[in-house]
Structure formats: C-alpha cells, structure tokens
C-alpha cells in the first residue's frame, strides 16, 4: 500500500482517526470558508471573476458566496471605503458569527489607495480587524486566490479550542490614527 500515509493508517488504526481537536476544527474551517463579498468598487469585478469558471474559487472550497453576513464567515472588502460607508462595514462585520475573518482586497481597502482625500477611510483596518491584505489596483483574481490560500494557512494554525472559550485574540483593529 501507499507508504506516504502519515496521519492515517487503516491497517493500524482501523476506522478510528487519532488527532488533535485543533487540527480537526481548523481543517474543517479552512476548507469551508464562506466569503461575503463587500463589493464597493472595481475590485468587486475582479472578485466576481475569481468566482467565475476561468479562475474558479471553488477549487479551494470557498465558492459559497453569501450576501448575508449571518451566513458568512469571511468578509472580502473589495473597494474604496468612504467614511460614510465605514460605519456600515463595521455593522455588517458585527453581524457575522464567530469565528470570522476579513480580507482587505486591493490598495483602497488596505490603505485608502489613490484616494488621499477628505472622504476616504485610509485603510479598512481602522474599523475591522484585517487578516490578509492584497496589493493591486485592482488585484488580479489570482492574487485574491493567493490571499485566500494564505488565509487558509492562517486558519490552519489557529488555537481554535482555546479561542472557543476566549475572545478571538486576532480581533484587534488599528487605533493609531496617522494624520
């Protein structure tokens, strides 16, 4: 038989798998990320392309885009966030059930991008805790897929069991207002 088997050997273990709770929970979570598109500008078009057949986000187990925050656990902020919209982004984030992750897609969501102006929030990390930033204006769908794979790697190494009982330690936002 296949000697490469590391985690599970049917001859030795039969129908029982021995592992760590963290590993199982993280394995389940990372392979069923339900993204919510927070499409605010042109980045959302690339996000849609990532969902289409050419780039096919379902290869990574996260094709179930939900437009309700209550049915999603990963918010993809795709586009320019204005100060007027910042409040809405935060409210929608709070409606998502734990555990939840945020991907800042593109220059605008990450830092305000080219919009150095009175109306634009200079980075969505001032209102919601961001797990992965994607550079690009807009990023190509491959860049978004890469970011989502990075997010999966991050989910894989979380202390899920410990975090069940405590507040999510990563859920911190940036509070240093640079001006």
């Amino acid at each position: 038989m296949n000697k490469q088997t590391v985690a599970y050997d049917s001859k030795v273990e039969g129908e029982v798998i021995v592992t760590r709770a963290d590993a199982v929970i993280n394995w389940i979570r990372k392979n069923s990320v339900w993204p919510m598109p927070m499409g605010l500008a042109c980045c959302a078009i690339e996000l849609m392309a990532a969902g289409g057949s050419r780039f096919d986000i379902s290869r990574f187990g996260m094709e179930v885009m939900r437009f309700s925050p209550r049915q999603a656990d990963c918010m993809i902020v795709a586009g320019t966030v204005t100060y007027k919209m910042a409040e809405v982004v935060r409210r929608i984030y709070e409606q998502m059930g734990d555990p939840k992750w945020v991907v800042a897609m593109g220059a605008c969501a990450s830092s305000g991008g080219m919009y150095r102006s009175y109306a634009t929030l200079q980075g969505v990390d001032r209102v919601v805790p961001v797990d992965v930033y994607v550079s690009g204006c807009p990023p190509r769908p491959e860049a978004l897929l890469d970011a989502m794979i990075k997010l999966q790697e991050k989910i894989k190494d979380e202390n899920s069991v410990k975090n069940l009982l405590t507040k999510h330690p990563i859920n911190k936002i940036r509070k240093d207002a640079v001006s």
């Binding site: 100060y83 910042a86 409040e87 102006s117 009175y118 209102v127």
Partner: protein, 201 residues
C-alpha cells in the same frame, strides 16, 4: 445656429450678458431673473434637458460663488450654459429649478452638499453625499483636500473602533500631471517627493 440664438437671446433679454466660452453658447443671468429666463428657455427655445448644475468658488473674489447650469435641446441638438452669481459670499443663495426641471433635484442637493449653495424653494435640500451632520462643504477653496478632523455620527461604532475622520496623509501631494509633453514624462507626481526612495536613482 448658435450665433442666431445668441443674438436673439441677448436682444430679447436686457438683463443677460454674454459669457466667455471656449465651446458652447454661454450667458450670464442675474439670480433674480433666473427662473423667468429658464422657463422661457425651456418652453420657447426648446432646451428641454437640464444636464448639469454646478458652481464655481472664486476664492477671494467677489462675488465668490457662481452657479452654473448646462442645458441641452434635444430638438435643436445644441447646448447652452447659464451662469448666475450669488450675491452673498457668506450664505450664497440661488433660486431652485426643481419646479422647472426635476433633474435639478439631486444636482442641487449635490451642489449644496459640496459647495454650500443654498437653493431657495428646493423641496428637500439636504446633503446627498456626505452625512447629514457633516459640518463642511468640501469642494470650497478654503477646504483642504486632505480633510479636517471630524467626529463620525454613529456613536456605537465610534465607541467600538474609536474612529473619526482624520486628515489624509498627503505625502507632498496632490498628485498632478506636470502638463504637456509625452505621457511617459508627465505622469502624475507630488511636488515634494523626498519620501520616494527611487528619487536618488
């Protein structure tokens, strides 16, 4: 065509004056006669489409604000620009054109929001882009592009995030093109690029 229209308009309405223009027919109209003039423009001269309502801030000059209207005639297929000075520099007012053109509704709200022109007779003159409690009119000349520190209206979100409007880092900007020339040499850049690590190369 527009020469005939121009002389016809200027002959008929004594209060009109010709306005310098690089493209279309343009006239200055005093604010008191604006409604009367635009009514005739719509009903007799067939300018049936209001394309744009905007304003100019002349900064230190008086009158400081000029309202600008662009009309189009779908019958004659020509444009006219009508400009009207606001008398008061502190509280600039113009008559609302909503009763004549319903297209004026949101245009006037936008101009009120960003330039602070008060359109008298507008049915619902409130901000359209910035939030209702925003204290400034950001397209005025005395407003910095980076913005001014301002509290946000949502108390619960502010409590959670400590978020407020803060002036954007300009990094020597705004980023503007130097003007004519090859596009490769006139890419937008800031006046002060000392932060740019590629500058020394």
């Amino acid at each position: 065509m527009s020469e005939i229209e121009k002389s016809e308009l200027l002959d008929r309405f004594a209060y009109l004056s010709e306005r310098e223009s690089g493209d279309h027919l343009a006239v200055n109209c005093p604010a008191e006669q604006l409604i009367e003039f635009c009514t005739i423009l719509r009903d007799e001269f067939q300018f049936d489409l209001l394309l744009d309502v905007t304003a100019i801030d002349w900064d230190v000059a008086t009158p400081r604000f000029t309202g600008v209207y662009h009309f189009y005639s779908t019958v004659k297929q020509m444009y006219i620009r009508v400009a009207s000075d606001c008398k008061d520099n502190i509280k600039p007012t113009l008559p609302s054109l909503v009763s004549l053109y319903s297209a004026a509704d949101w245009h006037e709200r936008e101009t009120y929001d960003l330039m602070g022109i008060i359109y008298e007779g507008h049915p619902n003159l409130k901000r359209i882009l910035m939030w209702d409690s925003y204290p400034y009119h950001p397209l005025r000349k005395d407003f910095p592009l980076a913005g001014i520190e301002t509290p946000l209206p949502a108390e619960d979100v502010v409590e959670q995030t400590n978020l407020k409007v803060s002036a954007a880092p300009m990094m020597g900007g705004p980023f503007v093109s130097s003007g004519d020339g090859k596009m490769s040499q006139t890419e937008p850049k800031a006046k002060d690029e000392s932060w740019n690590e590629e500058k020394g190369k």
